[in-house]
């Protein structure tokens, strides 16, 4: 398994280089270094000399990919792409355009993102699986039909509606929790987290429960389930002991891969609830055309996604003894 992991990690390097090139190309197709400078320097009394100076100080005065004026390896290395990308592989994110250390900000913002993402993820998973099992148990009854209808309705509604509706109902009308904000650690933060976490659960409920229901129904039709029933096992025991266990592989595919990405936060939720997490950090960076942050967050997202995929592969071996990772 160790060799397999090493190989997967090595595969990740060209993927990350590719992601970097793509991010770089897409970003600079829309924003030029002049754009970035203007965004930072403001609109009043800004002259081209100020823009040039800003670019020079931050290394944005070089060519993007190929420096035709340089010689040897400098053709590739004396470019914005090389200078801005190479340090990422050592997880040195550098400074944002406003001078703040990106690594520090990421560490600071990871906590708030996780404080919402983890409860929403765990509770969401439990609720979805429970509801899906319930539907599987009552398959082909009115409970199943109306449950599926509910799922379809819920997955058809935009996440934004849940956020605004939740804020309106729970915070504005019922006065149960603050509309937005974030507290320090401990119980003071609980009242800020509960609503975004519930909304996270609700907005993922429809699609999650439907997917798991399908997986469970697929398993329920298999021979081993019939055998279990023939042995006289109760339906609950069949569902929890056999169906759930065997449906874990496809569930794990979707679940484990997103675990590392929980660090990245939720873009809309964080913005609307004033949560100082990594989701709102990314949104802000895109709005302010801060390439350093955008690049760091995309890189981090890619790394976490790759980690998630590797973890998924490893988890297969844990839940299904038949699967062995090739040496």
């Amino acid at each position: 398994m160790f060799a397999y992991i090493i190989r997967r990690v090595l595969y990740a390097i060209p993927i990350l280089i590719g992601v970097n090139i793509l991010t770089f190309a897409l970003f600079f197709m829309v924003n030029s270094p002049d754009d970035m400078a203007r965004m930072q320097l403001g609109m009043k009394h800004v002259q081209q000399a100020d823009i040039d100076k800003w670019k020079q100080e931050r290394g944005y005065d070089k060519p993007l990919f190929i420096n035709t004026k340089a010689k040897g390896m400098h053709v590739l290395t004396d470019t914005i792409f090389y200078n801005k990308s190479i340090s990422l592989f050592a997880f040195h994110f550098g400074s944002a355009d406003d001078g703040r250390d990106i690594g520090y900000d990421i560490r600071q913002r990871m906590g708030p993102s996780l404080s919402i993402a983890i409860p929403a993820f765990i509770v969401g998973l439990l609720v979805n699986i429970t509801f899906a099992l319930l539907l599987a148990f009552f398959r082909a009854t009115y409970v199943d039909i109306w449950g599926v209808v509910l799922c379809v309705i819920m997955m058809s509604i935009s996440g934004m509606f849940y956020i605004i509706g939740g804020q309106f109902l729970i915070s504005k009308t019922l006065h149960l929790v603050p509309i937005s904000g974030y507290g320090e650690f401990g119980w003071s933060s609980f009242k800020f987290i509960i609503l975004p976490a519930i909304i996270g659960v609700i907005s993922g409920f429809g699609s999650g429960a439907r997917l798991y229901r399908t997986l469970f129904l697929e398993e329920i039709g298999k021979d081993y389930v019939r055998t279990a029933r023939a042995k006289g096992l109760s339906e609950l025991r069949v569902l929890f002991r056999h169906v759930l266990k065997n449906a874990m592989i496809p569930i794990l595919t979707g679940v484990v891969v997103v675990i590392p990405s929980l660090f990245l936060g939720a873009l809309l939720t964080e913005s609307f609830f004033g949560i100082p997490g990594l989701g709102s950090y990314t949104i802000d960076a895109i709005r302010s055309q801060d390439f350093a942050i955008v690049r760091a967050m995309v890189f981090l997202g890619s790394v976490l996604y790759i980690v998630g995929l590797i973890l998924t592969d490893i988890s297969y071996t844990l839940v299904d003894p038949r699967i062995r990772l090739e040496e």
Partner: protein, 752 residues
């Protein structure tokens, strides 16, 4: 057999129910914990939805918000209103705007008096105050500051018993537990001196900083442009290009135009005559900067921890930044070392009537702490304001209809809901002009001959800004007749102030000229019915803009309709901001939209936007229309250096007449700011020039507490109903389950 089956069934049923019970018990237990938590929260002093800790209840704290994190808090770099919200309260320039007086008036802040310039000729001979402009080679401002003013407590000033600075040479070990400024255990202070003001002016030229006013100031302050080169060279020699921690002692590099005379006096030498310098001296660019702070923050270890002068200001103002978390909240706390300062005693009769003089002569500041929370979206901000968790608010277009209604006379008034909450409304026209500009270099819309003028005048009539204001800004604005907004010297009210080329004076009000008149002008311009008399082709005008978003489309459609009225085609060339800027700087745009917000309350700050030598194409200046009229330019130079006298008004009248005739802009509108504030917030008067208004504000925390309690009772009954619905909907499922299990057992028994 049947008995056995029945026994088995009962046993099985019991087991199933026991499982179901335990299965259902978990959510019930969770619900119980949740309810308990809610009860605990309910038993606490504050409401459930209170976003602030219960410990803050009843405290003398003002609550506000910021939408995006400030980019710079260094007074040499900062130039945005959202940054001035903080640094305006912390840094103290020598002058400030009187809080109550209108029109805006400067008064001393840390200076003993408003400096009066002394003029000199090229030979260094002093000239009288009324000297002719051509004779004045330079003006000398001598500034005396008040003694005894202390800086806020700050680690940069902390010294040990021997008098050595504690934190100016921090080792890696000492930095181990330092993550923010408050982690330093010792602080110190020292007296404000003239040297600090000199130091800051030198910083404007620092190659490490991007002071937005360096270019402008180097045109006036003697030697500043060369000083920047000197500093650039000095940094290079010290290896500052590679090493960010290199500290350059600016005191070792003299600047010709700025000199310290004694501990409390310094001089600024300005080329020619530049009376607007006084306004600049009231801005944070010219606030004092202690050398100790610069040394302290230049340490690499602190920079790596985001502890820089750009993030942790140090000043003498009424407040200091005690919490700087731009990701969540920023906190300004009362500066314990703040000098003597009193609430103004003079104001208008309206001010007295509004209770704005109730605190006259009282010691400032009133508020202990100002907490600014990050609030990116309008809806949560508005709802929190309505719940009493923010003390004041603007009005977004989403909430405008809920907050404001218009009376039959067209006056804005509060809606019933807001009136019942004792919320107050303040409206004030902003010192801002939003306009559409013609590129005067363009062969179609530019030019100064009669035909081109008439074309621009016709378009100016056709674009109905009264309608624009009603549709797009909820009536929050007034149409502009010239670049000068109300409240700025030179603005004329009534018939004398209207633009006679676009408006007519009827029934004591300005009425836009008819479309027929616009079409007549268009025909005289050589485009009868929108068709070129020369080529026979329809007139097509290109509108360049960087506007984006869903609102823009409606605006573009509206703009097309305005041109349609005179049968002129409008082509919208929507582009990104950078390309738009590029077009503007190269003079490739034809018609564009732009705006200007006053730096200071002087007509020069608006009229310079059309001064020929400031042309965007030729000198990258702020004259985006590239308007160049020698007569206007001559009058501008004359007007620029005058006091607010009738003679100056007469010159401005002439300049405005030229502008209205030439019509380089479609004059657009001046936006109006609507501010809502709760009854417990006192001494609220919009002062759009002052940066340090927080110290005048006062709150009644008890009144706020009572209102918050009244408005935020938790409503629980819908939750119980929801739980009931869930329980009821589960019942048939349980029955179905029981029936199913029973059937299975019966079937099994039968098989047996």
């Amino acid at each position: 057999m049947q008995a056995v089956a029945s026994l088995n069934t009962n046993k099985h049923r019991q087991t199933v129910f026991a499982k179901l019970k335990s299965w259902l018990a978990r959510p019930v237990q969770l619900g119980g914990v949740l309810c308990l938590t809610c009860l605990v929260a309910g038993c606490s002093k504050s409401s459930w939805n209170n976003p602030y800790p219960a410990s803050e209840s009843g405290k003398n704290i003002i609550y506000s918000a910021f939408r995006e994190r400030p980019k710079h808090l260094d007074p040499a770099q900062s130039y945005s209103s959202n940054e001035y919200t903080f640094i305006g309260e912390i840094y103290e320039p020598i002058l400030q705007y009187n809080y109550l007086k209108r029109p805006y008036q400067l008064e001393p802040l840390t200076a003993t008096q408003i400096p009066h310039p002394v003029y000199y000729d090229a030979n260094g001979k002093q000239l009288p105050d009324n000297a002719v402009l051509d004779q004045i080679a330079y003006s000398l401002y001598t500034i005396h500051i008040k003694p005894g003013i202390l800086y806020q407590p700050h680690p940069a000033f902390a010294k040990d018993a021997k008098g050595n600075y504690l934190y100016h040479h921090l080792s890696d070990t000492e930095l181990t537990h330092i993550y923010r400024l408050s982690d330093f255990s010792h602080t110190g202070t020292r007296e404000l001196t003239a040297a600090d003001y000199v130091y800051q002016i030198k910083r404007l030229a620092s190659p490490r900083l991007h002071s937005p006013i360096f270019g402008l100031m180097s045109e006036y302050i003697v030697g500043l442009a060369d000083y920047a080169k000197t500093l650039q060279q000095a940094y290079k020699q010290l290896g500052g290009d590679e090493d960010q921690s290199v500290y350059l002692d600016l005191t070792k590099y003299p600047l010709d135009g700025v000199k310290q005379i004694d501990r409390y006096t310094y001089q600024i030498k300005v080329k020619g005559k530049y009376p607007q310098l006084l306004y600049w001296l009231a801005m944070p660019f010219f606030a004092p900067m202690p050398k100790e702070a610069d040394i302290f923050y230049s340490q690499l270890g602190l920079q790596q921890r985001n502890i820089t002068l750009d993030w942790y200001p140090v000043g003498t103002g009424a407040y200091m930044l005690t919490e700087n978390n731009p990701n969540r909240r920023m906190v300004l706390s009362r500066n314990p070392n703040y000098h003597e300062d009193e609430y103004p005693s003079q104001g208008s009769p309206e001010d007295k009537k509004e209770g704005l003089l109730a605190d006259a002569g009282k010691k400032l500041p009133f508020i202990d702490e100002a907490i600014f929370s990050l609030e990116k979206e309008d809806i949560p901000y508005w709802n929190k304001f309505m719940q009493g968790y923010y003390d004041a608010s603007g009005i977004s277009s989403d909430t405008f209809d809920k907050a404001i209604s218009f009376s039959q006379t067209g006056n804005a008034q509060l809606s019933e809901d807001l009136k019942q909450r004792h919320i107050h409304l303040l409206t004030t026209v902003q010192p801002t002009t939003i306009y559409l500009g013609f590129n005067m270099l363009d062969p179609v819309v530019g030019g100064y001959d009669e035909k081109h003028r008439k074309l621009r005048q016709a378009i100016s009539i056709a674009i109905d800004y009264e309608q624009y204001i009603a549709i797009f800004v909820n009536g929050r604005g007034i149409p502009a007749f010239s670049p000068i907004p109300p409240g700025i010297f030179g603005f004329r009210k009534g018939e004398a102030g209207i633009n006679p080329y676009v408006y007519e004076w009827h029934n004591d009000k300005a009425e836009r000229k008819s479309i027929a008149q616009a079409q007549q002008l268009l025909a005289e311009a050589g485009y009868p019915d929108g068709i070129s008399a020369q080529t026979g082709k329809p007139l097509l005008i290109n509108f360049d803009t960087a506007a984006s978003g869903s609102d823009s489309k409606a605006w573009f459609d509206w703009l097309r309709k305005q041109f349609d009225k005179i049968h002129v085609q409008l082509n919208i060339r929507n582009t990104d901001y950078n390309r738009f800027q590029d077009k503007m700087s190269k003079g490739n745009a034809q018609l564009f939209n732009w705006g200007w917000n006053a730096d200071y309350p002087d007509p020069e700050n608006f009229l310079f936007l059309l001064y020929g030598p400031n042309s965007k194409v030729s000198s990258q200046g702020e004259n985006a229309a590239n308007y160049s009229n020698p007569e206007y330019d001559r009058l501008f130079v004359q007007m620029k250096n005058m006091g607010d006298t009738p003679q100056r008004q007469a010159i401005i009248d002439k300049m405005l007449a030229l502008l209205q005739r030439d019509a380089p802009w479609v004059w657009g509108f001046h936006p109006e700011a609507y501010t809502l504030y709760h009854d417990w917030l006192k001494n609220v008067k919009p002062n759009l020039m002052a940066q340090n208004t927080l110290k005048y504000r006062r709150i009644d925390p008890k009144e706020r507490q009572q209102y918050r309690k009244k408005w935020n009772h938790p409503v629980l009954w819908p939750l119980w109903i929801l739980l009931l619905i869930v329980a009821i909907s589960l019942l048939p499922a349980i029955v179905t389950y029981r029936r199913k299990e029973h059937q299975a057992v019966v079937n099994r028994a039968r098989e047996d």
